[in-house]
Structures are given as C-alpha cells and as structure tokens.
Amino acid sequence: MESTLVRIRDLAKAFGEGETRVEAVRGLDLELERGEIVLVMGPSGSGKTTFLSMLGGLLRVSAGEIWIDGTDIAALGERELPPFRVRTFGFIFQDFNLVAALSARENVEVALNIAGERGRPARERARSLLESMGLAGRLGFPVEKLSGGEKQRVAIARAIANRPVLILADEPTASLDSHHGAETMRLLRELAKEEGATVVIVSHDERLREVADRVLWLEDGRFKTLQALVRDPVCGMLIDPAEAPASIEQDGAQLYFCSRGCRDEFLAP
C-alpha cells in the first residue's frame, strides 16, 4: 500500500463571473501521508473551508486534481462521487451537526445505515464506538442533553463509523472549553495512529498544533509557508524548530526542545 494517501495538484476554486469573480483557492499543491495529522490554519476568508469542502468532494473544483487513494475525485461523476465519499471520508464539524431528533447511538447508526450497513451489525458498531469513547452510559440519550465534549465525541464516532481513510475536521474544538478541547485533540491523535486514518483539521485553535504532524498556513487562497513541527523528546510537545528555545545535535540528528529545562533533563546522566 502506498504511503501517500492524498495528492493535490494545482487546485483552484473561483466563485462568480466577470468583475464579481473571486478566486477562493488557487494553485494549491499538497501531499498527505497515511496516518498523518495536518492542521490548516489561516485568517478568516482565506479559503480554508473551501479547501476542506473540495477535499471532501462536497464542492466541485474549478481546476486541478485531487487524488485520493489513486482516484481523482475532481473527475468523478455525480453518481460515482457519493459512494466514494461515504467509504472514504469522515466529517467532523464545529457545531457537531448531530441530528437533534436522534439519540447518541442513532446518530452514529444513521451514518452506517446511509453507507448500507443496517440492523444489528450497525447498532453493535455504533454501541461499540461510543463505548470506546467513554459514552457507554449515554447511548440512548437525546443529543441535546449531552455536554459539548460528549457531543463532539458522538460526532467523532459518527465520522469514523464507516472506517474512513480521511477524516476532515472543521474547527473541531471551537465550541469546546479547554478540557473538552484537549480531550477532542487526544481522540483525533488516537484515531490517526490506531485506525491509520489521515486527519485534516481546519482551525484557528493554536492548541491543535500539539496534535498536528504538520501545520499549513493558508492565506489569500494559497499555502504561504509549510512548517514541519517536531516533537520534544522529553515532554512530547510539538514545537516549531525555528522558534525552539533549545536544541542539540546528537548522532548527526538535530533535536529540538520546548524549554531549556527539557534539554537539561535530556542531557542529565
């Protein structure tokens, strides 16, 4: 199996015609590895949501290619796209976007139903996912009665129910307090590593840098810089090498630390 899951080439999206034409996204190139977590940041109106919608096959591209697992979704027809989407993507939204009329379990189950899995297997899969996310006691709860963190966990369970290879998260921590935000970040990290799913997160939340393998900065419809974060070998925190307060060279490799304390602890006998 190829390690690269997504290849994006010269991607562009324009809205309107003539004088009202606006290029939301232009000339984007990107590759995403399996199991990678990529955080896309940028100012409001920079094209993040447009990028995410195109990547998820919810919005047609104006130009370019989006290759996912060997399939160019920009070239897929209206009939081919939905079945591809349902087995490839999982969506996580800022507002959770759970169906209020359904219970926690039914919200997960309905995603399985839409994908063609029905009856007891679907119920059991939904139950098992929610239990693994610590929601065993909330299965039959109306989603309106769940806390923000619980709702987001239900949304994550729904997103991974059909075992997608690519999870697209739109501001997943924006509606959550710091405790539930951290919990969501931990879950996303686990998902990427345990399920081997690639996660693309669009967010303004700096806290998400901690779980991201890469941070992309999108501005005026283009990726301006591409920063590779590295992990502090002592505390595990992800840091920008350019801004690391301490670093050492060891066995030909450069190691970066979030603080001098971590570096000293690393060097201590």
Partner: protein, 366 residues
C-alpha cells in the same frame, strides 16, 4: 432495520408536529364541513318531495318544481289518473307558500293541504291534523314557540297545532300540513288542486308511468320523483347554492394553501438536518422520501382529525341551528381523500424541491 428517521423527526418536536397536524386538519375541516353543509342543504331542499312516497308527481303542464311555482289542476284529474293502469294511488294536494305566525314570531313554510295530513311522513309528536288543525315542522314550531294545543295563524286564519313532523326544514323554508279542504277554503280554490302524488303498481317503472300519464291526461306534466327533486334543486340552486359552491371553492383553495404552508414550514425547519444527512451522503432520493413521508404522515393525521371533527360537528351543529344539517356521504369522504391527496402533493412539492437543492457543503457554513 434502519433508524426510523421520519418518525423520530416527527416525534422530536411534538408541539410543532401537532401544530402541523392541527393546521392541516383545520384546512381539511373547512373543505369537509362546507361539502357536508352543501350536501345537507341539498338534502333538506327536497326532503318533503323525497319522503312523500310518490313515484310520479303530476303538475300543470310545464311545471316540474314547487319552489316559487304555482300549479293548478282540476280536482277530477286525480280520479282520472287513479283509473289508469299501473297506478296504485293518486293523492291530490294543494300547495302555497305561506307566512305562519305564532305570537310575535313568524316563518315561511310550504303550506300543504293534504287529506292524509302529510302521510306517509311520520308524525314526530301529536297527531295528524283534523279540520281547523295544523301540523308544523319541528324547527318552525320551536321558532314560533307553538307546542301541540297552541294556536298559529296562516292567511288570517287560526289553526290549532295538532302535532309536529321532523326533518323537513331547510335554510330557505319549512313545511306545514293542514286538511286540503281547509286550505281550499282559505284560497278560494275549491275544485282545484296543485299537484297529484302518484304511487305506481310494483310492475311498472316510474318513468313509464309518467309517460303514460302525460299521454292519457291532457294539460299535465308528469315527472318521476327523482326528476322532480332534481328540478327543484336546480331552481333553488340557481338562486342560492351557487354562493355555497363559491364558498367551497374558496375553502378548498385556502385549505390547500394552508396545508401547503404548514408542510413547507415543517420541512424548512429541518433543512439543517437534511444538509447534515446529505453531507453524510444520504441520497437525494432518500432525502425526498424522508420529506414526503413526514408530509404524508402529517396530512394523513390531519385528514383523520378533520374527519373526526366534521363528524362531531355534524352531531352538534343541528342542535344549535336546526335548519343546517351536515350530510356526510361516502362520496364526500372519497372526495376529501382526493383533496387530501392533492393537498399532500401540493404540500410536498415545495419542500421536496428545497430538499433536493440542499447543498451538503452548507453544513460547513455557520
């Protein structure tokens, strides 16, 4: 088995769903009630003719109605008709529209001079009239506060109320019976009758007998009871029921519009859910089925509620206004079903288009 989405969404916001059902029920009730009132009015317009027991009604040539009509035949015509083969019985009656007065009240009635005192119509209370007596339709008796034994006046003549008949009053008029000789004296028309009610022998059809009478007796028009009642309804309808028909049409249009708006707003309030489901790749066809199922269930419940309410109304309204009765017929219920179907289609059309156009990407917009 899948998650029952339509049922869950309907039951989730019960207040809103019930409001939708109530709105559609009110709209359909309007249609059903107006139809039933129209049918009731039509029934009552010809109640006396329908229940007279006559197979053929003979009138002066060219006359085939009673309302706002005069007919004069020689009394001997009854005997001549009675002697014809196929005739079981020929009963002459005198008829005149009259103002009946009782105390300070008065009301219009078909005053029928009938030797049988209205037979075969049953007497609801009291007995059939003798000389100087009158039988009143119950609603007229109530209006005039004229119970059995009291007196009323017609053409300046006092009559003692001997009893009541029931179920003959319409929104236009009522019915009263006196002895034919009493009415003939009052009108100064001794030896003249208005109509002759003819019963046929079992072996002959009403149409054939009517033709035979017209062929045998000069100067008469003989109509079957059904044809006579139909003419009566037509002549009254020309004057009054067109208004009711217009009301029914307006009611139908309002009903469809209200039901459509209710169904549209119910679906529109769930449009975010539809966008989420579409983003989860619920197919357009399935989303449409979901919307139509909810609209269909709402309209079905509204229809059943409207039917129950119109039945209730049919029981209550005659107690409040005895001249207005609701006649609920199988044909009218079937029509209402068609109306409900049309309402469901009309109501589903807008939301269906809206749901089909839902952009799944809209779930990313806030």
């Amino acid at each position: 088995m899948s998650v029952p989405l339509a049922r869950r969404q309907l039951l989730f916001r019960r207040g809103r769903s019930l409001a939708g059902v109530a709105g559609i029920a009110a709209a359909l009730l309007l249609v059903l009630a107006l139809n039933a009132i129209f049918a009731g009015i039509n029934d009552r317009l010809t109640a006396y003719i329908d229940r007279s027991g006559a197979d053929v009604i003979v009138a002066q040539r060219g006359v085939d109605t009673m309302h706002m009509t005069q007919s004069a035949l020689p009394e001997q015509a009854a005997a001549a008709i009675a002697s014809l083969p196929g005739v079981a019985d020929a009963k002459p009656i005198l008829y005149v529209p009259a103002m009946i007065e009782g105390g300070d009240e008065r009301g219009i009635a078909y005053l029928i001079g009938d030797d049988s005192g209205g037979a075969p119509l049953p007497i609801a209370s009291g007995r059939r009239p003798r000389a100087g007596e009158i039988v009143l339709e119950r609603t007229l008796a109530e209006r005039l506060a004229a119970g059995t034994g009291s007196s009323v006046r017609a053409f300046g003549q006092d009559f003692r109320v001997s009893g009541e008949v029931d179920g003959l009053a319409s929104i236009l008029n009522s019915v009263a019976f006196v002895r034919r000789q009493d009415l003939a004296r009052l009108l100064g028309s001794v030896g003249v009758v208005s109509y002759i009610f003819v019963r046929a022998q079992p072996e002959i059809g009403a149409g054939e007998l009517a033709a035979r009478i017209e062929a045998s007796i000069p100067g008469v028009t003989a109509s079957t009871r059904a044809a006579f009642a139909s003419s009566e309804r037509r002549v009254v309808g020309d004057m009054t029921t067109d208004i009711v028909r217009a009301m029914i049409l307006v009611g139908f249009v309002i009903g469809v519009a209200v039901a459509g708006l209710v169904a549209y707003s119910v679906t529109l309030s769930q449009i975010r859910d539809y966008a989420v489901l579409r983003a989860l790749d619920l197919r357009v066809r399935s989303a449409l089925a979901l919307a139509v199922a909810q609209v269909g269930a709402t309209v079905a419940a509204g229809f059943l509620l409207a039917l129950a309410l119109v039945w209730l109304l049919a029981g209550l309204l005659p107690r409040l206004t005895p001249t207005i009765v609701l006649a609920i017929r199988a044909a009218d219920v079937a029509l209402a079903l068609v109306v409900a179907g049309a309402v469901a289609l009309a109501a589903a059309a807008f939301p269906v288009v809206r749901v089909a156009r839902v952009d799944p990407a809209s779930v990313f917009r806030r």
